[in-house]
Symmetry: C2
Subunit: 255 residues, 2 copies
């Protein structure tokens, strides 16, 4: 175990830089922090490249492989490399995984497709909710958010260790679902839209959610097999996209 | 109309300070920004104390009373006083309202009670969702978040203009609901909890949601008439509190 005490140390600088996509791409690695994410990574059998702790006693609770480099850091360093206000004093660096761009030929099961959802907090919450609802996967389309963005990682709460994540062209994905005779549900109120409660609980579906400001793109909307809406009794004009996705997903899976 | 060009102007400094609770309390006013909130305020018949625009043509789309002070500001000032990265160039100052602390004697209808939900983004999203679901009101208990916190205001998307907001002691509120024979639903998995789908669609209820990290406090949990849980098929351990609140509210109101 190496002991680091200065924010000027090159390793500390490199960890800090992992908050940027550029550094993550360059090193093919990303950083997680806090017990919940560390636990989830371990439960999913992930091996850490590096682990950094303020209190070395914390290492007793970890399964660390022989290839993991271990560092004891100061609270000052923890504050410096953390992306939160109240760091828990435990961090790890993991290799990034390449998210498959190709649509699987035999795509089936329950999926959510996100058209240009940009806010990392909303995006992460949707991935977490899809995981909780037992969906098979999430496809990020048209989004420039990097899957290893620290805010996204935090919002996913470890769900990226459980659920299949793809980034890809939603047009291709929708075609594939339709070829397999799987319903593709859009979400936008129009004259042909049905209430989200009126389509049963199909064992295979693709639910497409749009960007909160602009909704689904017209070209994708025209390719859905059915559009759904959530009837609203009150005065709010719309729902937060992560809340809307949660309401529809839990209804469709009948959970 | 007064034209302001410097961030050093005292008024500009005062607007900037409205991001702090201290200044809001001192002046009994708060700031909103962007067209959506300005529109919602107008639709709800609110009068502005001050209105600030980068482009004076924007004033044509506003109903401004004779008591409103109007300012033309520069983009630099807009950037300075905004709490967002991409300000829309329109701001207004409104008087704060005192949120009633006393529980109404004849409390009925559909309510959500929030036990110590601290994150302003989640809190605001829950208020917005409660508004969309047609609930009668939201009670903030044990929370130190100020209702006029800029992040909360942004997340509510104007719903605080539509739905009754109270801050108060949840213990008292729960007693009042029970005196009126209105079910008080807690949300925590325990041996007596029912699925949120199995309690029908009561026209009067109080739904209590806890803090995401700690759940509902034990003392409140012991006072509920029924605890509810959301069955989860997947691997995520929990849901985001705003998503969970949305799923349960829309089920209870049968929307």
């Amino acid at each position: 175990m190496e002991i680091l005490t200065s924010n000027q140390n090159q390793r500390v600088k490199d960890w800090k830089k992992l908050q940027s996509k550029k550094q993550r791409t360059k090193t093919s690695s990303y950083i997680i922090e806090g017990w919940h994410l560390i636990d989830e990574a371990q439960k999913s059998g992930k091996e850490f490249e590096e682990i950094m702790v303020v209190d070395p006693d914390d290492l007793d609770d970890l399964n660390i492989s022989s290839s993991t480099s271990i560092f004891q850091i100061t609270e000052e360093i923890a504050d410096h490399i953390s992306s939160t206000k109240t760091p828990q004093g435990i961090f790890a660096v993991l290799p990034t995984e390449s998210y498959h761009e190709e649509v699987p030929d035999d795509v089936k099961g329950r999926w959510i497709l996100l058209d240009n959802v940009q806010d990392p907090g909303n995006l992460g919450t949707i991935v977490r909710t899809a995981d909780a609802a037992g969906l098979k996967g999430v496809v990020l389309g048209g989004s420039s958010v990097d899957i290893y963005n620290p805010k996204l990682i935090r919002s996913m709460q470890g769900s990226h260790f459980h659920i299949a994540l793809y980034s890809g062209d939603l047009d291709e994905w929708m075609n594939k679902f339709k070829q397999n005779e799987i319903p593709v549900f859009g979400t936008e109120l129009n004259e042909n839209a049905k209430s989200y409660k009126d389509v049963g609980h199909p064992s295979d579906f693709a639910l497409v959610m749009g960007n909160e400001g602009n909704g689904m793109s017209e070209s994708l909307l025209s390719k859905t097999t059915q559009n759904l809406y959530i009837p609203m009794n009150g005065n709010a004009e719309s729902l937060n996209v992560a809340v809307a996705a949660g309401i529809v997903m839990f209804q469709l899976v009948n959970s």
